[in-house]
């Protein structure tokens, strides 16, 4: 594939589906103009304004409109500009999109893709920087994916639109302009498969979205110390490819889970709970979590920098995992 940025790759996946399937529509604030980051730039020009619909600032209702359109046979892609604002659409997403297939005994389907952008980047403060993916692990009926690189972003976008279920497609703002080519392992996988980006026998580091980069850097740094790290990109949270992780941990006996969301109640908890359930007797050290401190996202640069986990904190966690002993 051509070298695209993460943002271009999302657009490319979206546009490819929209060209092939006239039932795919985009809804969101200023999306016809490309949206604030330009992800949907040019689509209205190519396919027509009617396919890329600007909406008022009414997240809850726009989500509902997209769900209703999906129930009527369209395949809408709705954009919530920042995941912080999905708080305004929770009833529609959780009580309606996620549940209607089940509640109707299979009569209804909601082929909906929710595009949302998350994370810390650019000192935007507590209302424009959250990572809330773990809430949606707890909502049966939703699928949740978080691509870490352009290749995955493109293929997961296409998978999400083709899926007959509501899929939450979570983009990371800090990755939009990254061109990092996806490793072979990462590209062209099925939506429900994690990607082993780097193999190693000593420690498994499982990372999510924007944290995959620092995880790979940490692995590089640790390699120089002679520590060989296996790096797994979770890619999809629902379904969660626990088998790949368990296989890796059975080999390495140590696991560090890395995400940008705050630690308490984060995805790392579910990963740890499931892995220990299936691999407890293989673990030589506790499963460690590297995540944001338990606080809202601060605005000032030194605080924001401290908030976001980085290579150093991953390296430090791996050292702790390697040195941990029964006390």
């Amino acid at each position: 594939m051509p070298e695209l940025s993460y943002l271009e790759a999302i657009r490319s996946g979206l546009l490819a589906e929209m060209r092939e399937d006239s039932s795919v529509y985009v809804f969101g604030e200023d999306v016809a103009l490309g949206g604030p980051f330009g992800v949907t730039q040019g689509i209205a020009e190519e396919l027509g304004e009617h396919r890329v619909v600007n909406t008022p600032i009414s997240e809850g209702t726009v989500m509902g409109v997209a769900i209703g359109a999906a129930l009527s046979g369209l395949r809408p892609v709705v954009e919530i500009m920042f995941v912080d604002f999905i708080t305004l659409a929770m009833d529609q997403l959780v009580n309606h999109a996620a549940k209607l297939h089940y509640m109707s005994g299979g009569q209804l389907k909601v082929p909906l893709t929710v595009r949302v952008q998350c994370g810390v980047q650019g000192n935007m403060g507590a209302h424009h920087s959250q990572s809330l993916e773990s809430w949606f692990l707890h909502v049966p009926g939703l699928k949740v994916v978080m691509p870490s690189n352009p290749a995955d972003a493109e293929s997961l976008m296409r998978d999400a639109i083709r899926d007959d279920n509501p899929v939450l497609f979570i983009e990371h703002r800090a990755l939009y302009f990254s061109r990092a080519e996806a490793s072979e392992g990462g590209s062209g996988l099925a939506m429900d498969r994690a990607a082993v980006l780097r193999e190693g026998p000593d420690v498994t580091v499982a990372a999510l979205s924007r944290m995959v980069g620092p995880a790979l850097e940490a692995a590089e740094a640790l390699a120089d110390e002679g520590v060989s790290v296996e790096v797994v990109d979770l890619r999809s949270l629902v379904p969660l490819d626990i088998d790949t992780l368990v296989d890796s941990v059975r080999k390495t006996s140590r696991l560090v889970v890395v995400h940008e969301a705050v630690e308490q109640g984060g995805v790392g908890a579910e990963v740890a709970a499931r892995v220990q359930e299936r691999a407890l007797y293989y673990l030589d050290s506790p499963i460690l979590r590297v995540a944001a401190p338990n606080a809202p996202v601060p605005c000032a640069p030194p605080l924001e920098n401290y908030f976001v986990p980085d290579k150093e904190r991953i390296v430090e966690a791996v050292h702790r995992a390697l040195s941990s002993q029964p006390s």
Binding site: Y25, H50, V53, T55, P56, S58, G60, T61, V62, M63, G64, V65, A66, I67, G68, A69, A70, L71, S72, G73, L74, P76, D91, Q92, N95, H96, L100, H101, Y102, M103, S104, G105, G106, Q107, L108, K109, V110, P111, P140, G141, K143, D164, N165
Partner: protein, 337 residues
Amino acid sequence: MKAAKRGSTAKQGSARGAGGNGNRELLSLLRRMWVIRAFEEKVSALYAAREIVGLLHLGIGQEAVAVGVCSLLDADDQVYGGHRSHGHAIAKGADLNRLMAELAGRVTGYCRGKGGSMHVVAAETGFVTASGVVGGTVPLALGAAFAAREKGAGRVAVVFFGDGAGQTGPFHESLNIASLWRLPVIFVCENNGYAEFTPLSAHTKVERLAQHAGTYGIPSATVDGNDILAVRKAMGRAVDNARAGKGPTFVECLTYRLRGHYEGDPGKYRELSQLADWKKKDPIARFVRVLKRRQAASAEDFAKAESDARALVEAAAEFALSSPWPEPEETATQVCA
């Protein structure tokens, strides 16, 4: 079979635009109101007998709205309801057996027992879904209208909601979007004067919820919701406008629920005299008086409308209660499509 019949009757209705008012048509409206009334009275009895459990909200007294509105829709127009929607589903053509079985939690129910009273779905009839969330289906109906408009086949979407939903944010966001995009959606507000245990006056200073539509330039009508012909008149215009691409309409139907908010509600918050006054306005008895005046049908026609309805409903209860329960293992199936 029964469903098909009612479905096709519905088609006839709107085949004549605002719906003919010929005697056969009028009698069929009475029949349909009786079916809803008989159905809900049976549900109430089965609930009292603990044969049906759950949280039940009956629309007894509001049948003229459900039947009047749906009598002007085609089978492939899309209808959304709320927590008090048995009547809406029946009026749109839901099969009584599968509906009763759903309320009774049986696997033969529309939703295999997973949905229940507040969450009826009868997809093949165009009754898309009810919801336990007040105001929750209003945005969904806009989506159906958007899809209908894009498909360009002149379909319309209708959403039933109560006066209490008129103070929810999604309702207001929806009025704005419906008017902005000129969607073929019809807002049917069943204003029965109460949200749970408090009167509308405790929820808003706005006396006619249709006023909100006015702000957006959405045509509206506030009608006597216990007069099925008045409902049909207003609805006829709404449907014609929507099909003609002229956008949304708001129809506010003033009515009253003759039973508690939910089955088992002691109902202390309403004066008995108020209840008595409204009983006099019972939409079915009223319509019978109208038909008598017009000599639209004979005494036995009227009697038969009720007795046929009761027979259908008894059969439905029979079907439901003799149906098997879902297997416990079904609890975790159909989570994803």
